[in-house]
């Protein structure tokens, strides 16, 4: 007991310190340790989530890059095919147009030739007719003074016959 008095040990003070410490433990646990632990857990969860998101984003980026490369490659192939098709179409169109023009030109030339031939023939006929008429008039004029009317008529007829023969030949 002497020792207890020397150190000032008293049951009431001892009990006070025990109860006091338990109360402080409860206060610290409820208001400090648990909230901080919750924050740790929440932070850890967010970090994990962020890491996962970053990983997913990385994978998505890699996939997007692959997809982009694939699309570009496909587009390149399509473009090449399109260019080749276009070239072929242009070539065909050019060929077709050329052929068409050629045909039309031939047709026009043929028409022109025919028309020219017809014109020529018409002109020839007209010229022949005119020459006959002129020859008739000339002969009539020349022979009117030298021959009688019968003789004139015979000569005219004969001349006309000759002319007609010449024309038909």
């Amino acid at each position: 007991m002497e020792m207890l008095n020397i150190f000032g040990l008293k049951p009431s003070l001892f009990l006070f310190q025990v109860i006091n410490f338990l109360i402080i433990f409860l206060i610290l646990k409820k208001f400090m340790i648990v909230p901080l632990k919750k924050i740790f857990n929440e932070r850890e969860r967010k970090i994990k989530q962020s890491m996962q998101d970053a990983e997913e984003a990385k994978i998505a980026l890699a996939n997007a890059k692959k997809e982009k490369d694939r699309i570009i490659h496909q587009a390149q192939i399509s473009a090449n095919v399109l260019v080749a098709d276009t070239k072929l179409s242009v070539e065909k169109a050019r060929e077709s147009a050329f052929q068409d023009i050629k045909e039309k030109t031939t047709h026009i030339l043929s028409d022109a030739k025919q028309k020219a031939e017809m014109e020529f023939q018409t002109a020839q006929k007209e010229i022949g007719q005119m020459s006959v008429e002129l020859s008739g008039k000339l002969i009539t004029k020349i022979l009117s003074d030298l021959f009688s009317d019968d003789e004139k008529q015979k000569l005219i007829n004969r001349a006309l016959e000759k002319i007609n023969e010449t024309r038909t030949n």
Binding site: N5, I6, F7, G8, L9, K10, S12, L13, F14, L15, F16, Q17, V18, N20, F21, L22, I23, I24, F25, I27, L28, K29, K30, F31, M32, I33, P35, L36, K37, I39, F40, E42, R43, K46
Partner: protein, 255 residues
């Protein structure tokens, strides 16, 4: 009342037992009780402040607390494994309470600045380092050992717990070992309480002596620095020993 240092008038004189300031319904209110309440207020304020302001984006203050909490959580987790959630709040509370009370005790003028007159017209300090009162150190040592004991009983059962002390296997070797174990339960309490009490009481005595005898401003600084270091070490030692006891007492159940 035993006076440890009683050089002369004007020099430091610190009693081993805390000074009783007044009594309330038979309960002696000592200067360590007042200091304990002061520490309680600080810790409670910190706890309420944290609960109100804690956020995912921590302030500097929250950062410091998080470092301490996380350190004890990870250390306990490394040592105690799955039992961490039970052990570390206790260990942390021991550490914070002892640390804050020790730090406050080392504040310049903490014990000297405020004095009150007792019924015997004696001038005594209003505050005193909490851990320099054996009632406090013994109380937390008992709590530490009893907690370890309860945890052990929870893990291995009351029968298993008693068999740690009383066993007739390989008679009389295990009975002797059990007796030593039983004595060890008491030496734990004595060791924990007197280590902390001795260190803090000696530190407070040194500081007070320095202030009263060769005092002023610069001379006590190295002593205060040394005491601050001891304050941290003692808080750490108590917390770590508690952790080790709790772990060891429950670890045996696993084998």
């Amino acid at each position: 009342m035993c006076r440890l240092l009683d050089y002369s008038k004007g020099l430091g004189f610190m009693t081993i037992s805390p000074d009783v300031l007044f009594s309330v319904a038979g309960f002696p209110v000592t200067n360590t009780v007042v200091s304990t309440v002061f520490v309680d207020v600080i810790l409670a304020f910190v706890a309420f402040f944290v609960s109100k302001t804690a956020s995912l984006k921590p302030t500097r203050f929250q950062n410091v607390l998080e470092i301490i909490v996380d350190y004890f959580h990870s250390t306990t987790s490394e040592i105690a494994g799955k039992k961490v959630d039970f052990i570390y709040p206790w260990v942390l509370t021991f550490f914070l309470f002892i640390l804050i009370s020790n730090f406050i005790g080392e504040l310049p003028g903490f014990e000297e600045a405020f004095t009150v007159s007792t019924k015997n017209s004696q001038e005594v300090s209003l505050f005193r380092t909490v851990a320099s009162d054996l009632n406090f150190t013994l109380a937390i040592a008992v709590i530490s050992v009893v907690l370890a004991m309860l945890k052990s009983i929870k893990y291995i059962g009351i029968k298993g717990y008693i068999s740690r002390f009383i066993s007739f296997k390989m008679f009389p070797i295990f009975l002797f070992v059990g007796t030593l174990e039983f004595i060890n339960e008491f030496t734990k309490v004595v060791g924990l309480s007197f280590r902390l009490f001795g260190n803090m009481f000696a530190g407070s005595s040194v500081i007070e002596t320095v202030y009263h005898s060769i005092a002023f401003l610069i001379v006590p600084v190295p002593f205060v620095a040394l005491e601050l270091m001891i304050a941290v070490i003692q808080a750490m030692v108590f917390a770590m020993l508690t952790m080790a006891f709790m772990h060891i007492m429950t670890e045996n159940a696993d084998h």
